[in-house]
Amino acid sequence: MNEDLDMLEQSALNDYKYGFVTNIDTDTIPKGLNEGVIELISKKKNEPEWMLAWRLKAYAYWLKLVEPTWANIKHPPINYQDIIYYAAPKQKEQLNSLEEVDPELLRTFEKLGISLNEQKRLTGVAVDVVMDSVSIATSFKEQLSEIGVIFCSISEAIQKHPELVKKYLGSVVPMTDNYFAALNSAVFTDGSFCYIPKGVRCPMELSTYFRINAENSGQFERTLIIAEEESYVSYLEGCTAPMRDENQLHAAVVELVAMKKAEIKYSTVQNWYPGDKEGNGGIYNFVTKRGICLEDYAKISWTQVETGSAITWKYPSVILKGDHTIGEFYSVAFTNHHQQADTGTKMIHLGKNTRSRIVSKGISAGQSQNSYRGLVRAAKGAINARNYSQCDSLLLGDKCGAHTFPYIEVKNKTAIVEHEATTSKIGEDQLFYCRQRGIDAEAAVALIVNGFAKEVMNQLPMEFAIEAQKLLAISMEGSVG
């Protein structure tokens, strides 16, 4: 019995494979945060005056805030003066082609399974890679620009498309939104920018791969996606970090804007370093992600597979402003050892006939704590709003925890909000049954976990689904039958 439980606990313990460090000269600024640091970041990025002013305003606001404590997470206080806010691998100023990328960096990303070489890529995925504070390279840029799609780093967008950035940056997640959003607004260093013009169906997946490499640094990325009328884009985000003993902060902001009949599908496979088995080190992943269906019939869909990070604090949300708009949230959050996840979503129904769907699958192993926190709000004007939420928890072993915090605020009588929740455990009987068929406990757990998460995994684009399945230590589920 105990042996089985041990195996259960161990089965999830696949070692972190992305924990290596790239030895490359890094341009870092000293630790600490003050106006001077923000000015320095802005200067390093050669930003226009308005951008710096925006940052400083956010900083001034942040200074007035205190760190939130409502989430079901515990960590020692974060010393914001002990973080490096800008770290960039040293390479040539302006890259004309991917060939100019430092080979050491190319090797790093090859090792992570991200090929930056366009010719070598078989799948149609355009990638922007961000290492520490800067975007290293973006592939397929030319092909995309031919159809009017802008896909570049946010730094480049600030230079080349200031009118778009000015209009939309902070329009979904205002700098005053919350503590970490304010901090991000002050110090964000890079991230991706996507603009899909009217009527364009983006022909390839756009993706950003985030990598933290430098020591003692934080990563503060900013992503902005705008989908004009009747456009479509599928965007993927992946991330990893070296194994380090200290905790590193990752505080990102992602904003999505969908116009009339536009659709944005945003998928994340979050695999930041989770810390070691004793709970030392790992990334604090404090992220604000929000999309707005600004006009009628727009649709925004978030899919996330969260396996990494020491602490995850993240609620990808949708504001359903236009009539007949749709918001979706599909999530698998897997926690192990001493990991803590407090994640979920907010669906804010403002328009008429708006619909939202929430499917959350939490899997807890080891001594981890996994919480779903979700808000569904139907405003007065959200006539006939519909929401369906399903939150399932699976416990592996008996030292972990699963929690569900659903908040429902309905301000009009025509709205219908449904919530279902289940908690299950992998039973000894189930394990014995599998093992009697020759499937060892580890594989059995993978099979069961995969089955449990299937509904969400099916939402991921093919290539990501495979990566995510590997992440969940899964062999063959879904290939037959």
Binding site: Q430, Y433, R437, G438, I439, A443, N450, G451, V480, G481
Partner: protein
């Protein structure tokens, strides 16, 4: 000898359930074990399969020249020991097909063979489905989830057909089956009967033994095999009940 059980004693939660079982089974033989409720039949099956709640306190088991008790649950299975459960477990979210494919490939890996690709697997599956007349729609559902009692039993025999074990222990596979299903399942089992395979049938009913003719019948009572005989013993039990044996033993 395929399986040789010598003086097995086994406890659960400190209570002795098996009190010295001896049984030899050769390849090609079919043995039936009968006995009143609670006598230890399922316990014996579980001990052979390696269920960890049971503590073997005495005795040895040899299976295909290996010390069975030294092998892990999964290695016993991969080496060819199959247990059709009296109460098959439901595993939500895991499709029956995928589950069986995983099992088949684990076994192949153990034998040093390449895993079957989807196509080859489906082909074999089609063949074996016919054997127990199991419906394809059942196999795409989560394993045993919401299956009727009879469907669960049929699914167990289907898995047996897929895994081609050396020794199959069938724990009350006949209970819960309707008349037609009993005939179909028994037929399937008969087709799986061959000179390289041994079958240990646990049953309460002579009915099953009309279909599957056993070479030997044993009566398990209070943790011991108290009587062994030919098929005629089952008929005698059917007629007289267990009393004529148990009274003897209790004396």
């Amino acid at each position: 000898m395929m399986l040789s059980i010598k003086n097995i004693h086994a406890n659960i939660d400190g209570k002795e359930i098996l009190k010295g079982i001896n049984l030899d089974i050769k390849a090609g033989e079919v043995h039936a074990i009968m006995g009143p409720n609670g006598s230890g039949k399922s316990t014996l099956a579980s001990v052979l399969a390696g269920r960890e709640e049971y503590e073997v306190t005495e005795g040895t088991v040899t299976f295909l020249d290996q010390n069975l008790l030294d092998l892990s649950i999964e290695d016993r299975a991969r080496a060819g020991l199959f247990l059709a459960f009296q109460y098959p477990v439901e595993i939500p979210g895991v499709s029956t097909t995928n589950f069986i494919k995983a099992a088949v490939n684990e076994k192949r890996k153990y034998q040093g063979k390449e895993p079957l690709d989807a196509l080859a697997f489906l082909k074999i599956m089609k063949e074996k489905m016919a054997l127990v007349e199991i419906d394809q729609s059942l196999l795409s559902r989560s394993i045993n989830e919401g299956f009727s009692g009879g469907e669960k039993k049929r699914n167990e025999i289907f898995q047996m057909a897929m895994l081609e074990p050396k020794l199959a222990i069938l724990d009350e596979t006949d209970s819960g089956l309707d008349i037609d299903a009993l005939r179909i399942v028994a037929n399937g089992i008969n087709q799986l009967r061959n000179q390289n395979r041994a079958i240990l049938l646990i049953t309460h009913y002579q009915r099953l033994l009309d279909y599957i003719q056993p070479d030997f019948v044993h009566v398990l009572y209070n943790g011991r095999i108290v009587k062994s005989g030919s098929k005629a013993l089952a008929l005698e039990l059917e007629e007289k009940g267990y009393d004529f044996i148990t009274e003897e033993t209790d004396l």
